[in-house]
Symmetry: C2
Subunit: 333 residues, 2 copies
């Protein structure tokens, strides 16, 4: 299989993307990595003896910046590394693409360059969020669409369930609907309309779930509109960050508190990492007619290697075809 990596994307640029590609190429012989970007900036990061046989460069002269207006940039910068990755998928020259670049532009690339799966109204961004036991849950949509209909939520639910099944091997993923209470009649107009659709969908629907129970692993897939999902993610992130910051203040208050903190530190550091959702792999853009994976901007080489792992599994398992057939099954039924 051929995996295109947007070599220019992410906070660290080619230094990390190329290092990640090399790690992945060494680990998986069956994966051919195409580094897409400025050849002059990529080459210095390759080994002195030249790239391994399953790593090639596809030159692209332009780059989409973090502050570029997404749709406009994707339409105009036809030779941007991210856009070229999308084109490689559409033309059948790549099976998957990985980028740590501008999230909005990546969604626009998926939508405008790669294209949607037939019948999917809105693709969804689906990162893993942390749980206390480290297993995590897939949340979608987390920012691709600010306004959703109940039919969008139904498709998110099916796509998320298929992903967890195919890529993570969960036989009956528990799908929950983000809501203000667990009872069936709770919620706003959107969640009230979505509830009966999810009950009839070909998924294991476990009903409404509350934001406060998510960290305890109340579901494997969380369905929500992009606005509520963003509020959820940032509230979790902000609260965890604030608490850890306050801990640090307490820990450094005096000599004796520093001693005490040193004793507790290993366990707390492990827990903090578990809570860091950026450690939980790349987020797929589901509903696109091809594999598009979003890495966090701060990704290191290991994160890119892990994204290649995800792409391999998703490709081998036939994820995109399964999403297409499961969502059309629902439509035809």
């Amino acid at each position: 299989m051929r995996i295109a990596i947007d070599a220019m994307g992410g906070d660290h640029g080619p230094a990390m993307t190329v290092a990640g590609a090399l790690l992945a190429a060494k680990e998986w012989n069956d994966a051919h990595i195409v580094l897409v970007g400025d050849e002059a900036l990529i080459t210095p990061h390759l080994p002195a003896g030249g790239a391994p046989s399953n790593v090639t460069i596809h030159h692209a002269s332009d780059v989409i910046a973090g502050d570029d207006e997404p749709v406009r940039a994707v339409r105009r910068k036809k030779d941007a590394s991210m856009v070229v990755c999308g084109r490689l998928i559409r033309e059948g020259a790549a099976d998957a693409m990985i980028s740590a670049g501008n999230t909005g532009a990546l969604m626009a690339t998926g939508l405008l360059i790669v294209g949607r799966i037939d019948g999917i109204e809105r693709p969804a961004l689906a990162p893993m969020l942390p749980t206390m036991d480290g297993s995590g849950f897939l949340a979608l949509d987390l920012g691709a669409n600010m306004d959703s209909t109940e039919h969008n939520l139904l498709q998110y639910a099916i796509m998320g369930s298929v992903y967890r099944n195919k890529v993570h091997g969960i036989s009956k993923p528990r799908v929950g609907l983000l809501n203000v209470g667990t009872e069936a009649g709770k919620g706003n107009e959107l969640t009230k309309a979505a509830f009966p659709l999810l009950e009839q969908a070909p998924i294991h629907f476990v009903g409404n779930v509350e934001a406060r129970d998510l960290l305890h692993g109340s579901c494997d897939v969380l369905v929500c509109d992009g606005f509520a999902g963003n509020i959820l993610l940032k509230a979790m992130e902000g609260t965890a960050g604030a608490v850890f910051k306050a801990l640090k203040t307490e820990f450094t208050r005096s000599f004796i508190s520093k001693l005490a903190a040193a004793i507790l530190k290993p366990g707390l550091t492990a827990f903090k990492q578990k809570m860091d959702y950026t450690e939980h792999g790349a987020a797929p853009l589901l509903g696109i007619d091809g594999l598009v994976l979003k890495c966090h901007g701060s990704s290191d080489s290991n994160a890119f290697k892990n994204a290649v792992r995800q792409a391999r599994i998703a490709h081998t398992s036939g994820l995109v075809g399964a999403i297409s057939s499961e969502t059309s099954r629902k439509r035809d039924g």
Copy 2:
């Protein structure tokens, strides 16, 4: 002024409500507390020598339970302590009411028994949420209405601003709109439509605020629809709870970690209390034509006393009249 306390409401019933009323009556001579509820259950908690002159009992034979369906219960249980409190306000026999009972029923009491301020479409529940520095912010709506229009959000903004000004003495409360990014064009259809209305409102609008910045005190009043507000609150609550639980596990892992924990405990306990939003006083139901304050179910006598303090300030400052004139000023302008 006369303040009606729903003596039957809350997890601890008359034991705590009566104790709180006695504390308040002792502290403020100008406050007359009316304990509304079952006389036979209230009397045992009064001092042996009888109640002080500024505490009286208003007998009410019925009670609204925690699992009662709110609107139905308020309509049918005409002699429930909470409903009678509402009727005392409507009839001018009380200036404010305080209850720790069923939140939905209290909102229904406000709406159906006390009534809305002329021109207010939707009253809003407005608790204080914590910030790292302990000052907190008022968030509304937090659960009175699951679906809101941009005009509802505008009224929430004005009501919240007036409350912070009148009751907390903040001369120019910073009002923020809960959103997915700080830039002006961000958000879903609702927040995009609300933004220009808030810009033109007679408030100090500081623009969009993100969930992750709230704990750092980015605003004094947070405007949001009840669904998003609930997700926010429960995500903050759930994450803080999960982190503190994980800390506890680390702290009790071994003898030496217990020792270390003992050193750090005082500072952490103080911080935990600061993060506990149930410590931040009673939540007003704003937009009701009278003062209705919701205490947390687990409130102790001190929390009820503090609610009386809030009611006194709100009454003295002319809160309800100010909300009425500020919101109608906006309408007329």
